[in-house]
């Protein structure tokens, strides 16, 4: 929000130089985003619009930072005469002050236009400029109608059917039923707290004005802004919960300036107030302050803070009763007062102090732990980790408000995104091996959903097939994690089993091979601990078997059959050669297995080796019609 240094200086002539106030604001109140000439762009915190979104509020913050009390006098309002104003539903408008004034001419002054310019507001005409100036000064949005154009009485009401409306800047907008408006006998004059209308616009010819200072319900304003999709300076302020006392301040200042600058004469003033005046009292204990903040302060220093903030204090035995200024609507609890004290004294004066706690058992989420382990293993296999978006154009759980058409759904698998990543990287690399561990969102029947971690792996090689590399990565990973795993082919997909349960699948798509694994299932089984097995002292014996089989025989099936012989001497089976091609007869391929045998009781004899090998040969011949070479 933009603030004018010129106006701050007018409110408080003792204010420090422009560049010196920036640090005071940052350390005690608000962040300053930018400073340009006479303009300071200050981020007013959302809970402080009521007391600090006007220049008076900022001047007060600055005085407090310099340990001074800001002197600023407000006059009181005087009711006068009669105006026909009615608030139909005071739930949405807790105060409405209307004042009718007559005036001859109203040329805007250079001073006001300068301040408006610093505050980022265009000069329109004398009256409108004063309204905006008062908003900058106090934080209360103001509005002026040409009272001669108002037909009959003023009503603040919710419209009960949709309507059209032409704004001050000549834009026609549709307003839905239920919108809070200011209306006369002819119809809508303004959208309450958001935008004024063309019909009762103040022009150079205006002789009589109705000045409005009102308090509208923040939720109502918030909903209207959403419904008509129109944000204004006024609506922004109203949606931050302004109090009805602020409306009074706005009116007081407006009347004062209009009288002084344009010799305006008050015809009538009506003040409708519906909320109760409450005195907010909160108990403050120095002992609790010290325990909560971890900082010791002298009683007099704390009391000085309350004095600066204009909070009255009553001492009650061990605690203080603090009477909160009516403009500090944000202060509701004792912790709010702790914050006031610590920020005024200086939050950086809190000294670091090691917490005193008993050492408890600390936990590490198992999924996150395994995620670390698996990423280390996979990068060890030279795969690179990538992060992709949680959205895609795939089917899946649907967003109510997608950011774009290609991100309408939540990803239900990782590999869709990973495949894209591999393709994109083929522009720069011949070989791309990547993985991601992240959440996917699964939709089940009846629109139920759940989320689960997946591991996605995609490997691509522009020159040669990559599927066996992928399977090697999977096997290496599962072995390292000490998992019972197996693969089974189903059509063109390889189903991955861990502990005889399906946990994922792998397939090849052109030159990219892809695996998608339910990572949460992996977490359930990957908690086993390896135990030591004695190193076998007796020699390892290897023997190769080459067999010719028909092309439609699967190597995987032969493997599992050999494994099923289940002899304890067989420690490993590998395929060391594979050939299908012209050198051998048509319809036949050659496969060479290497069988590794060992006994942990004695040296295995060549006779024993022969018996095992013959068993395997027999099996290959019988079950696969193989011809052993």
């Amino acid at each position: 929000m933009k603030f004018s240094y010129k106006l701050l200086k007018k409110i408080d002539p003792k204010i420090k130089e422009r560049d010196k106030i920036i640090n005071d604001l940052i350390n005690h109140s608000f962040e300053v985003d930018e400073v340009l000439d006479n303009t300071l762009d200050i981020s007013i915190l959302p809970n402080r619009y009521n007391d600090a979104s006007g220049h008076i509020g900022i001047a007060r913050e600055l005085a407090i930072a310099s340990n001074r009390v800001l002197k600023y006098e407000f006059k009181t309002l005087e009711k006068k005469g009669k105006i026909d104003i009615e608030v139909e539903d005071n739930k949405y408008c807790s105060r409405y002050i209307g004042a009718v004034l007559s005036l001859e001419s109203f040329k805007t002054t250079q001073y006001i236009t300068d301040v408006l310019k610093d505050g980022g507001i265009k000069s329109i005409n004398g009256i409108v400029d004063v309204m905006n100036y008062v908003m900058l000064l106090t934080g209360q949005p103001m509005h002026a109608f040409d009272y001669d154009k108002v037909v009959g009485g003023i009503k603040v009401k919710k419209i009960n059917k949709k309507d059209k409306f032409i704004t001050l800047d000549n834009i026609e907008i549709k307003i839905p039923s239920g919108t809070l408006v200011i209306a006369d006998d002819e119809g809508v004059l303004a959208i309450a707290g958001v935008k004024g209308g063309k019909r009762a616009e103040v022009t150079e010819k205006t002789k009589k004005i109705l000045v409005e200072a009102a308090t509208f319900n923040q939720v109502s304003i918030f909903k209207t802004v959403k419904a008509i999709n129109l944000k204004t300076d006024a609506s922004l302020r109203f949606s931050h919960n302004l109090c009805s006392d602020l409306a009074e301040r706005g009116m007081v200042e407006a009347l004062d300036i209009l009288k002084k600058e344009f010799k305006a004469e008050m015809v009538a003033l009506k003040d409708l107030r519906f909320d109760k005046k409450i005195e907010k009292k909160i108990l403050f204990s120095i002992e609790r302050f010290e325990k909560f903040i971890g900082m010791s302060l002298l009683e007099k220093d704390i009391l000085r803070v309350f004095e600066l903030l204009d909070f009255k204090v009553n001492k009650k035995k061990e605690v203080f009763e603090i009477l909160i200024s009516k403009f500090r609507v944000d202060i509701e609890t004792e912790e709010d007062l702790f914050e006031e004290v610590v920020r005024v004294v200086g939050i950086n004066k809190v000294k670091p102090e090691a917490p005193i706690v008993s050492i408890g058992k600390s936990l590490f989420d198992e999924t996150l732990l395994l995620k670390n382990k698996v990423s280390d293993i996979l990068t060890g296999f030279s795969l690179d980790e990538v992060y992709t978006y949680s959205f895609n154009k795939d089917q899946g759980v649907e967003l109510l408000n997608p950011i774009s058409l290609d991100r309408e759904f939540l990803r239900s698998r990782l590999t869709f995104n990973l495949e894209e990543v591999v393709k994109n990287n083929f522009r720069f690399f011949n070989e791309v091996n990547i993985f991601e561990i992240g959440r996917v969102f699964i939709e089940e029947k009846d629109k139920t959903f759940f989320e689960v971690y997946h591991l996605g792996i995609a490997v691509g090689n522009k020159k040669e097939g990559s599927f066996l590399f992928l399977r090697g990565v999977l096997e290496g990973l599962f072995r390292k994690l000490d998992l019972e795993f197996s693969f089974k082919q189903d059509k063109n997909k390889l189903i991955i089993y861990i502990d005889h349960k399906i946990i994922g699948l792998a397939y090849e798509k052109e030159n990219i091979s892809i695996a998608e694994i339910n990572f949460c299932d992996l977490v359930k089984v990957a908690t086993s601990r390896k135990s030591f097995k004695p190193i076998v002292k007796f020699p390892l014996v290897g023997r190769d078997i080459s067999v010719l089989v028909s092309l439609d025989v699967r190597v995987g099936d032969m493997f599992s059959k050999i494994q099923k012989i289940n002899l304890k001497e067989i420690v490993d089976i590998d395929m060391i050669d594979f050939y299908e091609g012209k050198k051998i007869s048509d319809g036949v391929k050659s496969v060479t297995f290497r069988i590794m045998m060992q006994s942990n009781e004695k040296s295995i004899t060549s006779k024993e080796v022969d018996i095992i090998i013959n068993k395997i040969i027999k099996l290959l011949e019988q079950d696969f019609k193989g011809k052993v070479r």
Partner: protein
């Protein structure tokens, strides 16, 4: 006999001069040769000495022999190592590549490690969150301007979470703070946790904004965990992460779920610019209440930081979108 020292000096001198293996072998033969070596001869003559001399000289001669053997052996080793002619060790090596972890993983782990070393537990929470946990439980009521601080992706209204009986509105969590409430509901203080995870914001992407990014949430609750304790933990953390030579400051801020609320800025050495790195504060009594804790019994702090922001500062990465572009020319740099 008397000149054992002199012999030793001779050996040293002649070994120093020799440049080839052959020279050394010649020296070896001269002194230690089985038949006529100088030292061998001395060893052989021990038996002819008187008992007194034997006691005196035998150990000295033995020691000279051992020293000489050792010196010759070392010299031979030295020569063989400097003999570069037989193998070129400077040929280009085989390329062995270790894959790269994503920079966000590296930075997240670095942060998590610092906190686990301070006995923090690491916990996880869902990415699709209910409106209650993401907003209401954190003291952010509906139609409150504070909600506007978080632009939200909503899930279509007819969806229902599996195994949940309640009809609720679901959204992509806008921060990791819901984990605070979820954890407090199930655990009795004292405890200290961090919760890393992905969060979502409905906003246009640019160099510093993304539709999804990562946060780490921290929470420490006990009987008397104070703002001063927070300062101790966060200062330790930031110095371990960015180095001891950073300056750091707190400044007043506002979050609905903390009171007081602060923002943490740091200044890197050789820079005069303050950089905003995290938001924090003392957990608001309404948040403790949402989780079923009594604010008169328990108090503590919470903080949240952006992993992308830390990674960008740490590595000097200028654009947040690089993290999600999947360009391996980027990912492989880390």
């Amino acid at each position: 006999m008397k000149d054992l020292n002199k012999i030793e000096q001779e050996v040293i001198k002649s070994l120093d001069k020799s440049l080839k293996e052959g020279d050394v072998l010649e020296i070896k033969n001269y002194y230690l040769g089985r038949k006529s070596g100088v030292i061998t001869y001395l060893l052989k003559s021990i038996k002819d000495l008187s008992d007194g001399d034997k006691k005196k000289f035998a150990p000295q001669i033995q020691s000279l022999k051992e020293k000489t053997e050792k010196m010759i052996e070392n010299k031979l080793k030295e020569l063989s190592m400097s003999d570069i002619s037989f193998k070129d060790l400077t040929l280009p090596n085989k390329k062995i590549r270790h894959g790269s972890l994503h920079p966000l993983t590296i930075v997240e782990r670095k942060i998590v490690d610092i906190f686990t070393a301070m006995n923090f537990s690491v916990v996880d929470g869902p990415e699709i969150e209910s409106e209650w946990y993401n907003f209401d439980a954190l003291n952010i009521p509906e139609f409150h301007p504070a909600r506007e601080m978080w632009d939200t992706f909503w899930i279509k209204k007819d969806y229902k979470k599996k195994d949940s009986k309640k009809r609720e509105n679901f959204l992509m969590r806008t921060h990791t703070s819901p984990v605070q409430v979820r954890f407090m509901e199930k655990h009795k203080p004292p405890f200290q946790i961090i919760a890393p995870g992905r969060v979502f914001r409905y906003e246009a992407t640019d160099a510093s904004h993304e539709v999804n990014f990562h946060q780490i949430e921290g929470l420490m609750i006990g009987e008397s965990i104070s703002m001063a304790n927070f300062k101790y933990i966060v200062e330790n953390f930031l110095k371990k992460f960015f180095g001891d030579d950073i300056t750091f400051r707190m400044r007043p801020s506002y979050f609905p779920f903390t009171e007081p609320s602060v923002e943490i800025d740091i200044k890197l050495p050789n820079s005069d610019k303050w950089l905003e790195v995290m938001g924090a504060g003392m957990v608001h009594r309404n948040v403790l209440k949402s989780a079923g804790l009594n604010h008169e019994e328990w108090q503590g702090f919470a903080f949240g930081l952006g992993v992308e922001r830390f990674a960008m500062l740490y590595y000097g990465i200028p654009d947040i979108r690089l993290f999600y572009a999947g360009d391996l020319r980027f990912n492989r740099q880390f």
